[in-house]
Amino acid sequence: MKIVKEAVAGTLESSDLLVKVAPLADDKVDLVIESEVMRQFGAQIRKVVEETLRQLGVRSGQIVIEDKGALDCAIRARVQTAVLRGAECKEMNWSALS
């Protein structure tokens, strides 16, 4: 899945996260994560985000995450939504979202 335009999903409210995606000229994923709970859960958040991106087949893009202590399921859902919006996806591959 290719990110072709800038997109956002989520909010800055407690227990949520804001995900911003943008196209990148280079063929790489540039992932920046900021979190209120970086020290305790930074590695886990990164793992969930990278896994979600891999399932969606995102190989290029700028991904910025402002986390406010969201649970893994919320992180996965927000990342999926932002990527789908940024990819202008019409045909949904539901199994990639599970």
Partner: protein, 341 residues
């Protein structure tokens, strides 16, 4: 639920009654209403206005929460609303001006500080990769040499004065980086201004012509520059723009000298030149000072050449005089685009 705070968007100019309420809330928070703000996100608790945040293009301004309602959750919700509103208008990349004491709050909303005038104002942007990415791209265009010059010009339009300044600066430096102000609010479009600069400096060796960016003399770094007619620019605005240049752009390209023409006519530009000497050279900063070289303007028949003078002559339909102030390509452009009235 009576406890719930409802958020919605309003145009303060179309809705006079709400405009007055916003002014009142801002006054409570020691902020001034800014006329340039086209949209406000408002938060209401019952009938009373308890929070507001303005959006002026891609600049967030006038963020206020009523004193009794201050707490993380309301403000974060307000900022989320603004970010989504901006995106609907096509702006993912946002800037924000605030007092330095509020910087840590906005950091919690995903904003990062770009530059600070201690005690007065800070400029922030809502991405951790914005200016860093920009400087990374600039670094690839570094050129070797001990004396690296820079000129930032609006060239509205490109005159013989600009050409003289570029030629002189290039001859005094090992390399010259030339930027054209990107903001599209001048009489001549960015595309046309850039094209005229490009053809006007084509035969001058030892320089790189760059596109301008949001980080130099833009609506974001220097909001008042484009409203010269309104009078004197606030000190802080020029300071932010110049600090960004000194702390990010100059180090990225290894710039040691910034060249500028003396300004005999325009008060805004003259003030900018004076402020340049302070903020690039004298002011306290972790960044290395950049030497400001003020070059006396070249003159035509005793009168210094300036773009504002060219625009004045164009308005007066005085093509004969314009002809003596601009290079051939600019003249062709002006005559073929019906700028002659």
């Amino acid at each position: 639920m009576s406890d719930e705070i409802v958020f919605y968007t309003t145009d303060p100019h179309a809705n006079v009654a709400e405009g007055a309420e916003i002014r009142q809330l801002l006054a409570q928070c020691d902020l001034d209403f800014e006329e340039s703000i086209g949209q406000f996100v408002l938060g209401r608790h019952g009938r009373s206005l308890v929070a507001c945040a303005g959006l002026d293009g891609n600049i967030v301004k006038c963020v206020a929460t009523a004193p009794g309602y201050r707490g993380e959750s309301l403000s974060l919700k307000l900022m989320s609303e603004v970010i989504h509103l901006a995106l609907e208008c096509g702006h993912l990349h946002l800037f924000l001006y605030t007092h330095p004491k509020n910087v840590s709050f906005f950091e919690g909303c995903g904003f990062y500080e770009l530059a600070e005038v201690p005690g007065y104002v800070s400029l922030m942007e809502n991405t951790p990769v914005g200016i860093k990415g920009y400087c990374g791209r600039l670094q690839k265009k570094r050129e070797p040499g001990a004396k690296i010059g820079c000129i930032v010009m609006n060239a509205n339009p490109f005159t013989l004065g600009h050409q003289y300044l570029v030629r002189l600066a290039a001859s005094q430096c090992d390399w010259l980086h030339l930027f054209v102000v990107r903001e599209d609010v001048s009489r001549f479009s960015y595309r046309d201004r850039f094209a005229l600069v490009q053809s006007g400096v084509a035969d001058i060796p030892g320089l790189t012509l760059h596109h301008g960016s949001e980080y130099m003399v833009s609506r974001a770094t220097f909001p008042d520059y484009f409203f010269k007619e309104k009078g004197i620019v606030g000190d802080c605005c020029t300071a932010i723009d110049l600090l960004l240049f000194r702390e990010y752009i100059a180090p990225a390209l290894g710039i040691t000298h910034r060249f500028v023409g003396t300004e005999p006519f325009c008060a805004t530009t003259r003030k900018y030149n004076n402020d340049m000497k302070h903020w690039l050279q004298a002011a306290d900063s972790d960044a290395v000072p950049v030497t400001v070289v003020e070059v006396p303007r070249t003159a035509c028949a005793g009168v210094p050449i300036s773009a504002s003078e060219v625009r004045r002559l164009l308005r007066a339909g005085d093509m004969a005089h314009v002809e003596s102030l601009v290079p051939r390509n600019t003249l062709n452009y002006l005559t073929h685009n019906d700028y002659v009235t």
